[in-house]
Symmetry: C2
Subunit: 157 residues, 2 copies
DNA sequence: CACGATTACTTACGCAGGCTAACTATATAG
DNA sequence: CTATATAGTTAGCCTGCGTAAGTAATCGTG
C-alpha cells in the first residue's frame, strides 16, 4: 500500500504548491466558508472539530473572516454561551468568485494536455475521490477518538 | 473540465487536512529536503524557484533547517556569492523516518477499506499522478515566465 | 435552589512560514 | 574602472496554528 500513500502524498504537494492559488483565503478558511454555505450557520466549536483545528485557532479565524466582512455571528437563541457563524452576502460572493477563478486556472492548464490525458485524469479522479472521502472521514473520527481518550486520561489523572 | 478542477481541489484539501500528519516539517521543507536528496546539493535560489517560494522565504527556511541540524551549507567554489545546501545525516534519517511513518499511517487507514476500494484507489492514483506531474510542471513554468515578464517590465519602467 | 463542574468561547502569547523592501557582497559588461 | 546585475540576507509585517489560562453561561446534584 506504500505506493498509494506515496502517490497521495506527492499529488497533494503538487496540486497545493503549483495548481492552486489561494486568492487570499487559507484552506481552512475556504473549507469553513463552504461548509457553512452547505450546512447553514454553525458554531465555532463545530467548525473547529470539522476542520480539525483547535478551538482558539477557529476563534481567531472567525474573527479575521468577520473583519473581512465574510461572515457574521448570531447569538444562539438556545444557549447564551454559544454563537452561530453565518455567511454574509460578500462571503457568498467571494466563494463563488474564488470557485470560478480556480476552475478557470485548472481548466486552462488542462487545455495544454493531450485529450487522452484529460480523460484519464477525469476517470481517475472520479474513481479516487469517493474513496479518499471515506478515508478522510475515518481518519477524522479516529482523531476525535484520540482527543476524547486524551481528555478522559487528563480528567482521570 | 470543471469537475476535474473541483475534484483535485477537494481531494487535496481532504488529504492535507485529514490524512497527513506533518511531523514537524512543513510541506515546503519536506519538498526541499527530498529534492536535495534526489538531486544533490542545491542553491537556495534553485530551491526557491523549484518550490515556488520567494528567495527570502527560502533563506529563512534554510536557516531553520540548519538550526535543526537537517542541512548544512557549503560555499560554492565557483561563485563566492553563492552557497549549496546539502543534507546532513540527521536530515537523511529524518526524511526516511517521516516517510516510514507517513506510509504507516495511510496504510493503516487503507486497511479499514474493502479490498476493492484499495485496488480502485491504487489504479486511479497510478493513472492520475503522471498527468498531475505534467500539469504542475506546466504551471511552474508559466509562473516563472510571469515573474520574468514582471521583472522585465520593472526594468523597462 | 445553590454551588461545583462542565461547556462555549476568548485572550494572551509564542512560533512557523510566507511576503515585500531594502541591504551587502560578489560578478560581469561596457 | 565604473555601472549594473545577481546571490543572499535582514528587517518588518501578516496569517495561521498551537497551548495555557481566562470569562461567562449552563447543568447536575445534594
Amino acid at each position: 500500500m506504500d505506493d498509494i500513500a506515496d502517490a497521495l502524498d506527492e499529488m497533494t504537494g503538487l496540486v497545493l504548491r503549483h495548481l492552486t492559488g489561494r486568492e487570499g483565503l487559507s484552506m481552512t478558511a475556504t473549507a469553513c466558508l463552504s461548509r457553512i454555505q452547505h450546512e447553514g450557520p454553525l458554531r465555532p466549536t463545530a467548525l473547529a472539530a470539522a476542520e480539525s483545528v483547535s478551538q482558539p485557532s477557529m476563534s481567531q479565524l472567525i474573527q479575521r473572516l468577520e473583519r473581512q466582512g465574510l461572515v457574521t455571528r448570531v447569538d444562539d437563541p438556545d444557549d447564551k454561551r454559544a454563537s452561530l457563524v453565518a455567511l454574509t452576502g460578500s462571503g457568498r460572493a467571494l466563494l463563488a468568485d474564488r470557485h470560478r477563478n480556480r476552475r478557470h486556472r485548472i481548466t486552462e492548464l488542462l487545455a495544454t494536455l493531450p485529450a487522452g490525458d484529460t480523460a484519464t485524469l477525469r476517470l481517475a479522479m472520479h474513481a479516487a475521490l469517493p474513496v479518499v472521502r471515506r478515508l478522510a472521514e475515518t481518519a477524522r473520527e479516529a482523531r476525535a477518538d484520540t482527543v476524547r481518550e486524551a481528555k478522559a486520561e487528563t480528567a482521570g489523572a
